[in-house]
């Protein structure tokens, strides 16, 4: 069953996620707006981020069990090998069961826009890491 077939996900998308994405887009230049595409039972969000010097292409996937299961975010722009970067340039953004509220995905509090902002923060850290070779924020606990 895909995200579009699930009434819980559908209500969530219509009532929460799409209004949040519209608000996000309305505050951005056209090249940095998010577009959405259903694909294989999931929903892909495609967008660009410019945390500091560079522009990155990203895709965030809302899985069929969203929002129970956290979205995953991949950077399509080639990155250097670095900490907190998983297979296929997937960003390590959440630590489930973390005691830090913003380090674990929480369907009651977060939207896909929060995932995009988390990716922005990750990329900002990455640009610092590229220069200084230290990750500027502590590990999630």
């Amino acid at each position: 069953m895909g995200i579009l077939d699930n009434p819980v996900s559908k209500e969530r998308l219509l009532g929460v996620e799409l209004p949040a994405l519209q608000a996000y887009n309305s505050q951005r230049d056209p090249e940095y707006r998010v577009s959405v595409e259903p694909k294989g039972g999931e929903l892909q969000l495609r967008y660009r981020l410019k945390p500091a010097h560079n522009v990155y292409e990203l895709v965030t996937v809302l899985p069929d069990s969203y929002p129970v299961i956290a979205p995953t975010t991949r950077v399509l722009t080639k990155l250097e090998s670095c900490p907190h970067l998983l297979y296929q340039q997937t960003l390590c953004l959440w630590k489930q069961a973390s005691r830090v509220a913003d380090s674990r995905w929480d369907p009651a509090r977060f939207t896909a826009v929060f995932a995009i902002q988390a990716a922005w923060r990750w990329l900002a850290c990455y640009e610092i890491w590229v220069v200084e070779k230290t990750w500027p924020i502590p590990e999630a606990r």
Binding site: P7, V16, A97, S98, R104, D106, R109
Partner: protein
């Protein structure tokens, strides 16, 4: 099955509407009520037969279906609309959130029992209309999300034994939490605003575990409140066509 058995024997309950997709498997035998000879039969039918033998006056209506199956959504919705209370014993968070959605949609009180891995304890939650939802409680519990990650069935050998991915709880642990779950359900049924049960969630440690539970059998009451900005229960419902909404967003995004 344990909570169903306990509730089904209570004379105040005259009808049970049961939704259960699974087939009884050999690996179920040591922890369930039915013999090995029942393997291959739908669990819902076995449960209905078990209850009929003990309560011939009890009406049991079964639906062998996945709770989240869109093909059965209408039938499940109709069943929920007829119920006075919901009892949830699913083991993955996706189904729990779906059940929560159904219960809120029909303004029904409901209960949920959860046995922790290894049977070290468990939670019993009571939900009432207007109170905290499952997502509010899960957010405040700060726990790891569990989804149904069971492997797909082996179609070449239906009914074969499969290994369980998680550490199974003992039947004693399952029954201890099921008893608390049944008691909380009966309390809610007799008193639908939950008077006398002053917390949303009860945690019952069944074993002392260093770093987790200091002592066994000391019930912890967790009076969770509804989160003011819960995206699950406080947000707008949002109607309309999803694909049209995507197109509208993409048009505005210029793609």
């Amino acid at each position: 099955m344990a909570v169903l058995d306990l509730l089904g024997r209570d004379s105040r309950i005259d009808t049970i509407l049961l939704v259960e997709p699974d087939t009884y498997k050999p690996h179920n035998v040591h922890r369930h009520y039915f013999p090995a000879a029942s393997c291959g039969k739908p669990k819902a039918d076995l449960a209905a037969g078990w209850l009929a033998e003990r309560r011939p006056d009890l009406r049991v209506e079964t639906l062998v279906a996945d709770l989240c199956d869109p093909a059965c959504a209408g039938r499940i919705d109709e069943m929920v609309s007829r119920a006075d209370i919901g009892v949830c014993a699913v083991d993955n968070d996706r189904a729990k959130l779906h059940w929560d959605w159904l219960m809120r949609r029909h303004s029904k009180p409901w209960t949920l029992g959860e046995v922790l891995a290894g049977g070290i304890g468990g939670f019993v939650h009571m939900f009432v209309p207007g109170g905290p939802c499952f997502a509010c409680v899960a957010s405040q519990l700060q726990r790891e999300t569990k989804v149904d990650d069971s492997p797909p069935p082996d179609y070449s050998a239906p009914g074969h034994a499969i290994s369980e991915a998680s550490i199974p709880a003992s039947i004693s642990s399952v029954h201890a939490i099921a008893s608390l779950h049944a008691l909380s359900t009966l309390a809610l049924l007799g008193d639908e605003d939950g008077r006398g049960w002053d917390s949303t969630t009860r945690l019952l440690p069944l074993r002392a575990v260093p770093g987790i539970f200091n002592r066994a059998l000391e019930t912890v009451n967790l009076p969770f409140a509804r989160l003011a900005d819960c995206l699950n229960c406080s947000s707008g419902k949002g109607g309309g066509d999803l694909l049209e909404a995507f197109e509208c967003l993409n048009r505005a995004a210029g793609s």
